[in-house]
């Protein structure tokens, strides 16, 4: 089933729902677990009763045997709230192969939505932004939510340029409830600016994960000779030598990634680098890990 996680193969599939289903089912099957695997009813621990605790949680069977009041606690006793922030700026349109970063981000988001709604019974929502909020789908578990989300993803065409600062206020308004916030972006901004802009999302108790989507050629450009490159967002043109592209640029992008990761962790945010020529399971695995950790 691994080949169904390959983004190049997925690019040949037209519908996002089919993609998501294919990926998630394949991914879950690869875990060698039951498809009914869940967290919400799983016993976690006993805790001694203390005054003020809700009596509904006292395990009366234990009290009857031991005459001591213990509280029974379960994992996943509440559903999570998943919100995906999808960067739809022009830079996401870059593709060195068949799959652009935007496609990859869409696939990833679709899979996450599918996994969250169908497997975890989580409420899922979507915010599409570039230099402003272009689309917002409130997190919900209602019937048809998955279709709304996938439709929102399909409408998300790259446009304009990224600006985290401007739509930040809208994010705060939308993300009042605690939950899991996944940001899919190429993060072409200074790491401190990114973190400073996103960090307030953490203050509401959200778990924030930065999915850094990059094309392999963005990590290591391959220029056979001097070339003129133009910026997809600013249309700026620049003459670049292959020597610089092969020597200096990888160092700088690596430094940028490292800085972003370090600053994200120091801000208690998770960071995951997604390269578009790699399978999609990294994002799903990251999501499940965090989801498990929350419970």
């Amino acid at each position: 089933m691994q080949r169904f996680l390959d983004p190049v193969v997925l690019a040949e599939i037209s519908g996002l729902d089919l993609i998501a289903r294919t990926v998630v089912d394949g991914f879950v099957a690869g875990l060698h677990r039951s498809p009914d695997f869940g967290f919400s009813q799983e016993f976690a621990e006993y805790r001694a009763y203390s005054p003020g605790d809700d009596l509904r949680h006292v395990d009366w069977n234990v009290f009857a045997r031991t005459e001591r009041a213990y509280l029974k606690r379960y994992r996943g006793e509440t559903n999570s709230l998943l919100t995906v922030l999808l960067d739809a700026s022009n830079s996401m349109n870059y593709a060195s192969g068949k799959v652009s970063k935007m496609d990859y981000a869409r696939f990833t988001a679709a899979c996450l939505f599918y996994l969250a709604i169908h497997n975890q019974r989580d409420a899922a929502g979507l915010i599409v932004f570039d230099d402003e909020v272009r689309n917002y789908i409130r997190p919900s578990t209602r019937q048809g939510q998955i279709n709304r989300l996938l439709h929102g993803l399909e409408l998300a065409e790259p446009r304009a340029r990224t600006d985290f600062a401007k739509p930040l206020d809208h994010f705060r308004q939308f993300l009042r409830r605690r939950g899991l916030v996944l940001i899919l972006s190429d993060f072409y901004e200074a790491p401190e600016t990114i973190i400073r802009t996103i960090e307030p999302l953490r203050f509401h108790g959200n778990e924030v994960v930065l999915f850094h989507v990059l094309d392999p050629k963005e990590l290591r450009p391959d220029l056979s000779g001097p070339a003129i490159l133009f910026d997809l967002e600013t249309n700026l043109r620049m003459e670049v030598t292959p020597e610089y592209a092969s020597n200096e640029y990888p160092k700088r992008i690596e430094a940028h990634i490292t800085a972003l990761r370090d600053r994200a962790r120091s801000a208690r945010m998770d960071y995951c680098l997604l390269v578009t020529d790699r399978p999609l399971d990294a994002a799903l695995r990251q999501y499940l890990t965090i989801r498990q950790g929350r419970n």
Binding site: D186, I228, L229, D231, T234, E239, T241, Y244
Partner: protein
């Protein structure tokens, strides 16, 4: 190495163009989209430095083409050292023109030339040439003194007229071919008449140093027979006379005895008083020569150093007058009178007119006549007309005068032309017509003066399409037509020869017209019994091919080879004397050839003119010439031609390579 036009070297900057284009070709690739340039840096300088030139061979060809073109326009040259004593060439020119026959001039010149040869450096090359009307190079540049001296000794006195202009032209050619400085020694009497009209024609190239060796210091007095007017053909010795001009050049007034010599015998003598430095004419009233060609000359008694110009040669041929048949109507007595009188006075009794009425024409034998005249004949007896037509086709000629009788019939006999109409101008308002156009290139109308005054009252018009129109009247009626019939000619005069249809017979132009027509129709064009040295004798016309000619020069030699005798068109008369010539048409001629009498004036060129010609300042010209020679030891040799050849090769290589690359690019998807 230097450049004659160094400003064109600016064009070398154009070599940057292909380099720029080859770099730009890389630079002008399609811009690649990239998600963000925030981690890139502008590296333009580095880009150019590291940008690699592609198609280096093609680039080098292109750069080479541009650079070499700029070089070619800058006209590069190298200085060749050409003036070392070993490379200097000595050219000894000895004047052997006619004037050098005076006294010991030629022997003095040859002796001085030998002394110059002896005084030269043994390793120095020398070349000998003789100067007449043109420069005759006798040796190549050699160092063998014996051969050079032999060449000098072999120079004989000539009869040509010297030409310093021709000397300068020939030396310029030699200098261009030699690429070496030339030391020109001229041994000459420096005759003034040998100078060209302009001194500029005598200018020598800068690398030629002229050293003059005048062999005559003073102007010698000289008498000469300057010219002779004598007929080349004589029919009646009593009507022929000879006029000779005796000229004295820088001479005192003196009496000279002029003699007419025929075939070596003095037949008449006249005493002539020649004024100081002037001319006098000796007239010999008769020229009694025997039948056939005679070698004649007018001779004066020799009293000067140049005896060769004391006689003037000319050739005279005596023959019987040729009869001309004149056919006319019995009632017409005017036309034979006018035509006969004109023929007798014009052609120096070379023709006799045989006037025959048309009714007695049938009994005549046409073959003995030089030509036939039909004067306004109404009708010809049919046998006679047939004989006449056969006579013309066989090479005879006929002059037809179409008077008023032509209006009575529709066609012109012999000519076989239809009479279109007859113009009677006397009935018109203008009363007469005159000649409007004449073709002076026709032999019968070479002197057309006086034709405009002739009044024509009557003329017939014939179709001129098959004839050559020689003269037209004011209403464009053809007046004189020439039609070739077989081997002969038929000349139609569209009016009468009497003074009724025109006043032509009583006009002065009638006599020369009759003379020219008679000579043209009889085929006896005027011969010249005397010519000048270096003139050309026409041996054949273009039609007379593959017929051998013969020339016997005054020395009795046949200068033409068999091949030349069968093909050559003309022959240059190079020496004075009598030339016996058999032309391609079979005619035997004798020509007396005389030297140009401008050579008889022995006045030398003034000293200041000689100084000017030498251009180096008089007596020390040799010294200055040597100085100039050393200054000009290095002379530029242009290399532009070589540069252009390399440009061509580079352009060819560029084309081939560019074509190959273009094909390669085109095949790429």
């Amino acid at each position: 190495m230097g450049f004659l036009a160094p400003w064109f070297l600016i064009g070398v900057a154009a070599a940057a163009l292909p380099i720029y284009l080859h770099l730009l070709r890389r630079h002008s690739t399609t811009p690649h989209p990239f998600s963000s340039l925030m981690f890139f840096e502008q590296r333009t300088q580095s880009s150019i430095r590291h940008r690699r030139l592609r198609y280096l061979l093609l680039l080098s060809f292109r750069v080479a083409v541009l650079v070499l073109l700029a070089l070619a326009f800058a006209n590069p040259y190298i200085k060749r050292t050409v003036a070392s004593s070993g490379e200097r060439r000595m050219l000894l020119v000895i004047d052997n023109s006619f004037s050098m026959r005076a006294g010991p001039r030629l022997s003095d010149a040859k002796r001085e030339a030998v002394s110059v040869l002896n005084s030269r450096h043994p390793a120095e090359g020398a070349q000998i040439a003789a100067l007449g009307s043109e420069l005759h190079v006798l040796t190549q540049p050699i160092q063998d003194s014996a051969v050079l001296r032999a060449a000098v000794d072999s120079i004989e006195p000539g009869d040509a007229r010297g030409s310093f202009g021709e000397l300068a032209r020939a030396v310029r050619s030699i200098e261009e071919a030699a690429h070496a400085p030339i030391e020109l020694h001229l041994f000459s009497d420096m005759q003034k008449t040998d100078m060209p009209a302009s001194l500029a024609e005598m200018a020598l190239p800068p690398h030629v140093s002229l050293i003059l060796h005048p062999v005559a210091k003073d102007t010698l007095p000289n008498w000469a027979v300057e010219s002779v007017q004598a007929p080349s053909q004589v029919w009646d010795p009593k009507k022929a006379h000879v006029e000779a001009v005796i000229a004295g050049y820088h001479t005192p007034a003196a009496s000279r005895m002029a003699s007419l010599v025929v075939n070596g015998k003095i037949v008449d003598s006249r005493k002539v008083d020649v004024p100081a430095g002037g001319r006098a004419t000796a007239v010999f009233p008769s020229l009694n020569v025997p039948y056939g060609w005679s070698r004649c000359e007018v001779r004066i008694d020799s009293a000067d150093s140049l005896a060769a110009d004391d006689n003037y040669l000319f050739a005279v041929e005596r023959s019987d007058p040729e009869p001309v048949l004149f056919i006319h109507e019995s009632a017409d007595s005017r036309s034979p009178l006018y035509f006969g009188s004109a023929l007798a006075s014009a052609a120096e009794a070379s023709f006799t007119l045989d006037s025959v009425p048309v009714d007695r024409a049938s009994s005549t034998v046409l073959s003995k006549y030089a030509f036939v005249v039909l004067s306004d004949v109404i009708s010809l007896p049919a046998p006679f007309e047939n004989d006449l037509l056969r006579y013309v086709r066989g090479g005879g000629s006929v002059l037809i005068a179409a008077g008023t009788s032509a209006a009575h019939r529709a066609r012109i006999p012999v000519l076989d032309e239809t009479v279109i109409e007859a113009h009677d101008y006397s009935r018109n308002g203008e009363r007469f017509a005159t000649v409007a156009e004449t073709d002076s290139s026709h032999p019968s109308l070479q002197s057309s003066e006086g034709w405009a005054g002739v009044k024509f009252y009557y003329a017939v018009a014939v179709d001129p399409s098959s004839s050559r129109v020689i003269a037209r009247l004011t209403d464009h009626t053809p007046l004189l037509l020439d039609k070739k019939i077989g081997e002969g000619h038929s000349l139609l005069f569209a009016s009468g020869l009497d003074d009724l249809t025109n006043d032509f017979p009583v006009q002065p132009v009638f006599v020369p017209f009759v003379r020219q027509v008679a000579r043209y129709l009889s085929g006896t064009e005027e011969q010249k019994g005397s010519r000048l040295v270096d003139s050309f004798l026409e041996l054949r016309t273009t039609k007379e091919e593959a017929v051998s000619v013969e020339v016997i020069d005054p020395a009795g030699h046949r200068p033409l080879s068999l091949k030349e005798a069968a093909s050559t068109q003309s022959y240059q008369l190079r020496s004075a004397g009598f030339y016996s010539v058999r032309l391609a048409n079979g005619r035997q001629d004798l020509v007396g050839v005389n030297a140009d009498r401008r050579e008889s004036d022995l006045e030398p060129i003034p000293e200041d003119t000689l100084t000017l010609w030498g251009g180096k300042g008089g007596p020390d010209s040799q010294h200055q010439a040597n100085l100039g020679e050393h200054q000009d030891q290095e002379r530029p040799r242009s290399l532009w031609w070589y540069a252009m050849v390399v440009v061509l090769v580079a352009a060819l290589g560029e084309s081939l390579l560019a074509g190959r690359y273009l094909v390669t690019l085109a095949e790429k998807p």
